[in-house]
């Protein structure tokens, strides 16, 4: 057993060293500094916002109930849900589908040692952001209910251990399912499981809202404080470590804390035992699955231009890769789905009435459209992973006899094809729900949304040309930890914050046509600059 732990430590350290080293060392040092600053700011900012929210909610519950950890629990449950839903992909991918498995198996490691190492790597890779947010939540709670040495000690342990349970579930069920069912032979099936988990948790949360007679913030807080909230009750069983930690911190109970620690030790032992008995079975099934070959006849296609041939290749790659569908294409539907939801629920009128109680409502709507479009376009990573997606085969950008300018046009076109129509449709639907009678504003919003997509796409292409992540094992790792997509998102958030500040400071004086004119001008400049700069970067790109 001791020897086995030694091997797990050795393999874990090596895998971490390999996975956490920079994929592609930065060409520009200043870019690395900028990204580090932006990344830290975003993480600390998120932690502070969540902490502040916890503090307010805890204060509200304390006023109603005397004291209570329900606010802290509620947010920690969400963190655990995110951990579980997104962890399914990561844990299954690492345990069964990562390419290094066939290289590790010839070495004298027991399958359980490989399995445990992979789980630890998943925990550390997935939890860095969670650690920050959990610190924020615990600090927020303690700001509202008081600090103490015991609470701080319990809190520190909580920060480290709370992300364990969701990943334990992922690994536990993955090992169990893969060894028993032996049906999932690719990560595609895992994506489905992840989506289903997300839907189940969402339904439970929606049920907790529907149980309220009147869906308001007040009634929700009351349901939390009086213990009638279904979501909280169910989650206390599902993610019981949150409940134990909340009890330990809330009641300063050493007993609950020891129970919290003991549960984690049991989880590790269970996982080790399960890996010893079953991990090899599932792994064997995946490795022996073979590949399906299509028997269908190949259709002859017409001769195409270089542009359309390349466009076709890019679109087919996107549509035939489940990771790209879930991470790049589905997010483009956020605006249309929101619009449809608003139309069906008929809450648009309420939104309208609320917005029109605020300062400069038309400007607010207009600016919100720009921010939402920019965020959704950046979130889908289509443009910011344009060169990254080529991966090991990025050399084709160089050796194919296609001018770089045309290649960039293809990359832009692919991003536009998926981002632009959905953004426009989404904005139209949202406008129909919120401002059905204000046609001129609707028109301005649609134009602004389209222009924002163009600007955001060109910016994404530029960022990816500056720092493409060309070394990756699977598509998910191409998108995750990719500095181009991170920078793209960060800049979009920064632009959103600047626009928000402008609205707060100058709301009354901001004229929509003027803002649109500025947006158009900036976009034209961006298009010209990004095209030229990306072309130059592509010429210099080392593949």
């Amino acid at each position: 057993m001791r020897k086995s732990f030694g091997k797990i430590r050795l393999l874990t350290n090596t895998l971490l060293k390999n996975s956490m080293a920079e994929a592609d060392p930065f060409k520009y040092k200043s870019l690395k500094i900028v990204i580090s600053i932006i990344g830290t700011t975003i993480m600390v900012g998120c932690a502070m916002v969540v902490g502040y929210f916890t503090q307010i909610l805890t204060t509200a519950i304390t006023l109603l109930h005397g004291s209570g950890t329900e606010a802290m629990q509620l947010i920690l449950y969400f963190i655990n849900i995110f951990g579980a839903v997104f962890g399914v992909n990561v844990v299954c991918g690492l345990l069964y589908f990562s390419m290094d498995l066939s290289r590790l198996l010839p070495y004298p490691f027991k399958p359980a040692e490989i399995g445990m190492s992979k789980c630890i790597v998943a925990y550390l890779q997935e939890s860095i952001m969670e650690f920050m947010v959990i610190i924020g939540i615990l600090v927020g709670y303690m700001l509202a209910d008081g600090f103490s040495v015991l609470r701080i000690i319990f809190g520190i342990c909580g920060v480290v251990l709370l992300p364990v349970l969701p990943l334990f579930y992922c690994a536990f069920f993955a090992i169990l399912f893969m060894s028993v069912a032996k049906k999932i032979h690719s990560i595609k099936g895992v994506n489905l499981v992840s989506a289903m988990c997300g839907i189940v948790f969402t339904l439970i949360f929606v049920a907790s809202l529907l149980q309220l007679e009147d869906i308001t913030t007040e009634s929700f807080i009351v349901s939390l404080s009086d213990g009638s909230n279904i979501f909280l009750t169910i989650m206390q069983y599902v993610f019981f470590t949150v409940f134990l930690l909340a009890k330990a911190i809330g009641e300063k109970s050493i007993l609950y804390f020891l129970l919290f620690i003991a549960v984690h030790i049991v989880m590790i032992l269970v996982l080790y035992g399960l890996s010893t008995v079953l991990y090899a079975d599932g792994l064997t099934a995946v490795l022996s699955a073979g590949k399906k070959h299509s028997d269908s006849k190949i259709k002859k296609s017409r001769t195409r231009t270089i542009f359309s041939a390349n466009l076709n290749r890019e679109i087919k790659t996107l549509l035939r890769t489940p990771t790209y569908i879930t991470n790049c294409i589905l997010p483009t539907l956020i605006l249309p789905v929101s619009g449809i939801a608003l139309l069906i629920s008929q809450k648009g009128k309420e939104f309208h009435d609320f917005i029109y109680t605020l300062n400069a409502p038309d400007t607010l709507i207009f600016i919100s459209v720009i921010i939402a479009t920019a965020l959704v376009t950046a979130m889908n990573s289509l443009s910011a992973s344009a060169f990254t997606r080529e991966g090991n085969h990025a050399d084709l950008l160089k050796y194919l006899p296609i001018p770089y300018k045309l290649q960039i046009k293809v990359k832009v076109a692919v991003s536009m094809i998926f981002s632009l129509p959905t953004a426009i449709i989404g904005v139209i639907l949202l406008c129909c729900a919120i401002i059905p009678d204000n046609i001129p504003l609707m028109l301005f919003c649609v134009i602004a949304s389209a222009v924002t997509v163009v600007a955001t796409v060109y910016l994404g292409i530029l960022f990816d040309a500056m720092h493409p992540k060309l070394v990756w094992e699977d598509e998910l790792s191409a998108l995750r930890g990719n500095m181009s997509t991170f920078l793209h998102m960060a800049v979009s958030i920064a632009v959103g914050i600047v626009l928000g500040i402008l609205y707060v400071l100058l709301g009354k004086y901001l004229s929509i046509p003027v803002v649109l004119a500025v947006l158009l001008t900036v976009t034209v400049i961006l298009v010209i600059y990004c095209s030229k700069k990306s072309q130059k970067l592509l010429e210099e790109m080392i593949v």
Partner: protein, 243 residues
């Protein structure tokens, strides 16, 4: 207990429901022997190697390496070089070799001695501080070969080892294969290059559609199937589809 260093009896491997990639294969390798797997693409060479190294479990038959069935003990006896050197790319070459030294539990002195000896042999001492992803394909392959030999394994298994190596390195690798066998070990490797197989192999295993078509010494093969070279004999056995 098997007397051979490597003994494979009636090995079968099925992919999916019914695709027999390896069909009832038997062969053995003794101390001092270099055995070459040859065959067309998809014949089953890599699958056999994967079964030997424990990457894939077999669906029938027995494998014995240094007297052990495939497991931790057999893996301790094997040094494996895969066909693709893209592994642990973000480690430095030294970190990679140190990782393998720890996996095979070498003490510090032996580790240093072996790293120095092997890297000198391949002339890669200078690149030890570099990350693997900054090395060329051939250099990576040299590091992988070094890693496979770090614990001086009695059985050395290589999958298409010459791919991407420069002429000097290919020459040196061939020499190392022979020397490793002469030191009382055995080497099994797959290759498409029949000249190489003829040059360094004691015995050849020709695999076709998952079955062993022929398992014999190069000389016996030539005698039995005719031809001046292994290539001629090979074509006589499997047929020249393009001829």
């Amino acid at each position: 207990m098997s007397e051979h260093l490597v003994e494979v009896k009636n090995l079968t491997k099925i992919y999916g429901k019914d695709f027999k990639a390896v069909d009832n294969i038997s062969f053995y390798a003794d101390k001092g022997e270099v055995i070459g797997f040859v065959g067309d693409n998809g014949a089953g060479k890599t699958t056999v190697i994967k079964c030997l190294t424990g990457i894939l479990p077999s669906d029938g038959g027995n494998i014995s390496i240094c007297g052990n069935p495939v497991g931790i003990k057999s893996k301790q006896c094997v040094g494996y070089t895969a066909d693709n050197p893209d592994f642990m790319l973000r480690l430095t070459c030294r970190e990679y070799l140190e990782f393998l030294s720890d996996v095979y539990e070498l003490d510090e002195n032996l580790r240093e001695e072996n790293i120095e000896k092997l890297t000198k042999r391949f002339e890669i001492e200078e690149i030890l501080p570099n990350r693997l992803d900054s090395c060329s394909h051939g250099t990576r392959q040299k590091v992988m070969v070094t890693g496979a030999l770090i614990h001086n394994p009695p059985v050395w298994i290589l999958d298409e080892p010459m791919t991407g190596l420069d002429p000097q390195s290919a020459f040196r690798l061939k020499k190392m294969i022979r020397e490793h066998a002469q030191n009382g070990n055995c080497v099994l490797f797959s290759t498409h290059v029949l000249d190489t197989a003829e040059e360094i192999c004691d015995k050849i295993i020709i695999i076709r559609k998952g079955k062993v078509v022929c398992f014999n010494t190069v000389e016996n093969l030539k005698k039995k199937y005719g031809g001046l070279s292994l290539e001629d004999s090979y074509l006589n056995i499997v047929g020249d589809d393009n001829a």
